[in-house]
Symmetry: C2
């Protein structure tokens, strides 16, 4: 890697709405905080996209030579049903449904989340703090915010005074909302709340009788508000001002705007220099949602056991599929797009595996390797533009195939660079795996065997030997492999 690539990275900062040159606060050390999952159910594929995107960002920063302290939290208390200050706590509610202690729910779904992240070959964060693990730090923050004058206690709860804060500061600056518009559009308070204004948000909530998760505090038994944990934990592990704060697009408001308000009340600082937000994953053109049954878990894709896709897809393929869109674009997942990604990824891997076998000599290559490598970095330096990076890899793939057919020349020194650059971007940066997991070899054998059987079946159909072609189809079905005939070719899916 040329040493100056780490000086030319541009990051789209949600705060300015512009791509900005990335200038770290402390030269080589980067602090990055990403809002993690609320661990009350199995992470769906939409959640995963966010964390896979930040894995890419983490990996690329590491590749550029930075030392990243990557903090990603687990929310295990305080996230109420409507992402607001009312309704039941998501963890507590699930605990009642599953007849478990809230911390058993947290354990169960944290383990699930970690397993999924591992299947996707993402690097674990450097620190993974929990909200319940930082109650005392949150209480400390509340006491300071009260002291600063921007919070008030009412009936054993404490609220952030948005109106007062906004007089000297700018509430809603990240999402671009104006407090006066919000106030005009909100219903007036109905008398059941302790808030002075509907825009105020809870820093500490009094635990009602029915509440099963609570802690002692200067304001009595209660629990922290959802927005506070990220402020308390990022401050503890990254300081008052750090490089990158990230999360899903849906967290911009109110969550991240509230975080900024809290931090400004605490230390007069917007906590992060760069705010990054990942976009949504839709399924067959619609938002993923449990309520409309448009919803898929990673494990259902890996096993093929789902109603959306005709076959199973590996974590590698799903990850590659995600990187074929930019992290700030909406991405739609469908059967066809996954099949296309699988083919594309196979072509890239085949290309990579071809390189060692390519003939080469000392004449110049018919391809400008240096400028190609440069372009790969330029694309990643352009706000982590993975689809453009992948286009560069495919560009080079045509050259590799032409060298294989002896229609283009490859220089011996370029050959090494070609292979190492391909590996850097596929494995280190995109975090794909060459031989996925332990059953890859077996997987490969069985797909090759299925390929043989499909070929035999096609031959028998061409020969009008329909008895044999039906027999092959039926025999495969008996061992759990369903063939689907297309005009051009046969696909299969494992149904057991």
């Amino acid at each position: 890697m040329k040493s100056d690539f780490n000086k030319n990275l541009k990051i789209y900062n949600s705060l300015s709405g512009k791509k900005e040159l990335f200038v770290p606060i402390n030269k080589k050390k980067i602090g990055m905080y990403v809002c993690g999952p609320t661990v009350y159910n199995n992470a769906h594929l939409g959640n995963c996209r966010t964390f896979i995107s930040f894995d890419l960002i983490n990996r690329y920063l590491i590749h550029l030579g930075f030392k990243v302290r990557y903090v990603r939290n687990l929310t295990d208390v305080g996230h109420l049903e409507n992402d607001d200050d009312d309704g039941e706590d998501k963890i507590s509610k699930k605990a009642k449904v599953e007849k478990l202690e809230p911390m058993e729910i947290v354990q169960k779904y944290s383990i699930d989340f970690h397993k999924v992240m591992e299947r996707f070959n993402t690097l674990p964060p450097s620190i993974e703090p929990t909200a319940t693990g930082h109650i005392i730090e949150q209480i400390d923050c509340i006491e300071q915010i009260i002291k600063s004058g921007y919070a008030y206690e009412k009936n054993d709860s404490v609220y952030f005074d948005v109106l007062k804060f906004n007089k000297k500061n700018n509430y809603g600056r990240l999402s671009g909302r104006k407090l006066e518009n919000m106030m005009n559009n909100s219903r007036s308070l109905d008398g059941t709340t302790d808030k002075k204004n509907p825009q105020d948000f809870a820093l500490w909530k009094k635990a009602e009788e029915s509440h099963i998760m609570f802690w002692n505090s200067p304001w009595g038994k209660g629990f922290p508000g959802w927005h506070l944990e990220c402020t308390a934990m990022s401050k503890k592990y990254l300081g008052d001002y750090f490089d990158i704060h990230g999360g899903g697009m849906d967290l911009k408001f109110p969550h991240h705007d509230c975080e900024i308000a809290q931090s400004e009340a605490l230390s007069n600082k917007n906590p992060a220099k760069y705010w990054m937000h990942t976009n949504m994953l839709t399924l067959n053109g619609k938002k993923m949602s449990k309520s409309i049954d448009n919803f898929i878990l990673p494990s259902e894709i890996f096993s093929g056991n789902n109603k959306f896709f005709e076959k199973q897809f590996s974590p590698n393929v799903v990850k590659f599929f995600m990187y074929q869109a930019h992290y700030r674009s909406v991405l739609d997942i469908s059967n066809d797009s996954l099949i296309a990604s699988e083919k594309g990824l196979n072509k890239l891997f085949n290309g990579l595996n071809l390189i060692p076998e390519l003939d080469c000599n000392e004449k110049p290559s018919d391809f400008d390797i240096e400028s190609w490598i440069n372009n790969c970095y330029l694309k990643m330096n352009d706000d982590f533009n993975t689809p453009m990076l992948i286009a560069e890899l495919f560009d080079c793939l045509s050259f590799i195939n032409n060298v294989k057919k002896s229609s283009k020349n490859l220089n011996i020194i370029d050959k090494e660079k070609l292979e190492s650059t391909f590996k850097i971007f596929l494995f280190d940066v995109l975090g794909l795996v060459d031989k996925p997991e332990s059953n890859n070899a077996e997987d490969k054998i069985s797909s090759e065997l299925i390929g043989l059987l499909i070929k035999l079946r096609n031959q028998s159909r061409e020969n009008k030997d329909f008895k044999l072609s039906d027999q092959i189809r039926d025999d495969l079905m008996n061992i759990g492999i369903q063939l689907n005939d297309d005009k051009k070719e046969s696909y299969y899916k494992k149904i057991k």
Copy 2:
């Protein structure tokens, strides 16, 4: 399983020094707390033995039909170098050495610990709380102990007053130590400590300038004493009085005796009905210790990359080896003992795999299956006596081998019981894995697919379509599967 086996379980209670009938506090629901690792380095095999033993206990209780809430903590603060109230915090010290934030150390070694436990196919605990995650609960406990009169504050630290406690209670009852003997054998205080007596232990320690882990408290900035976390967390998740408290033998004193004192000061209750302690693992006859370089990590055994053993051993073999001794006995690991265990385990698996092929009939078996099953449970009910259980399994293995040689008779109904009982004890109770790791299903599919292709080839040969039969043979050869034709059938072997 006969329903009354869960009424006849006997557990050796370290508190009474006797085997006692296990009578759960709440019929079907069991609370079990096990002291987990201090996550400041890679878990060595000795640590693992403790958690593997409690995995067995957890699994057997579940098998007996109990619903177990199994709480195992991670110690991430407060455990000082000498397991005492002086010296540096183990996590902080490692953080300085590795130039990481203490919570980065915790994350790194927690991930390692979880991976090792997963390789050993242990079930995760229901809840895995951390000391730093329960500071507020620990502060609550301290305030209550001060109120009860058994703790005093001195220079911003708080100590448990052992002498005062012992006047009405019995300090040291678990380890069988007498306070007066301890006092006679201890050096007098040298004036640098705030303790009234050398036996007093810290509940809260003032953080000195150099300390990097601390929290606000009613006594100023500080951190909790090591013994307190387990009291606070077991109380929170299992209540003041629960069924089983476990840990390694070395934790009896002072850790568990201090826990008992804290709980008695808080609620007048010894927190656990049954106290269980696992014994040491030695290596080549000597205690495992880093300082004398007599020390092995699980990963070094699995990879074979170590100076102690001549070959690699799977997690399955190491686990089976451990179960060949009773959990309360010292166990020595050596090359020869591992080789013997590997042979033994292979014999058992071969026996299990033989069962489906055994000839059987409706005549009575030459082996009393019912009383054998009964004996298996009796052995486990005798304080989880795995070596005796394994002896029972070997006993039955001789019978299986004799049936195979047609020298003994097997009844058709007994055959099913034999197979299911073998599986229950090997897989559900001992938690061994049949075909280690994940490629089992794929293995099965590829052998079925190869079977189909062999069938097609045989058909084509019968039809004298040698072009097709040769094609199938060649295609298989191309993907690394070599067919060998016998007079009766075709065999294959994977050559890649």
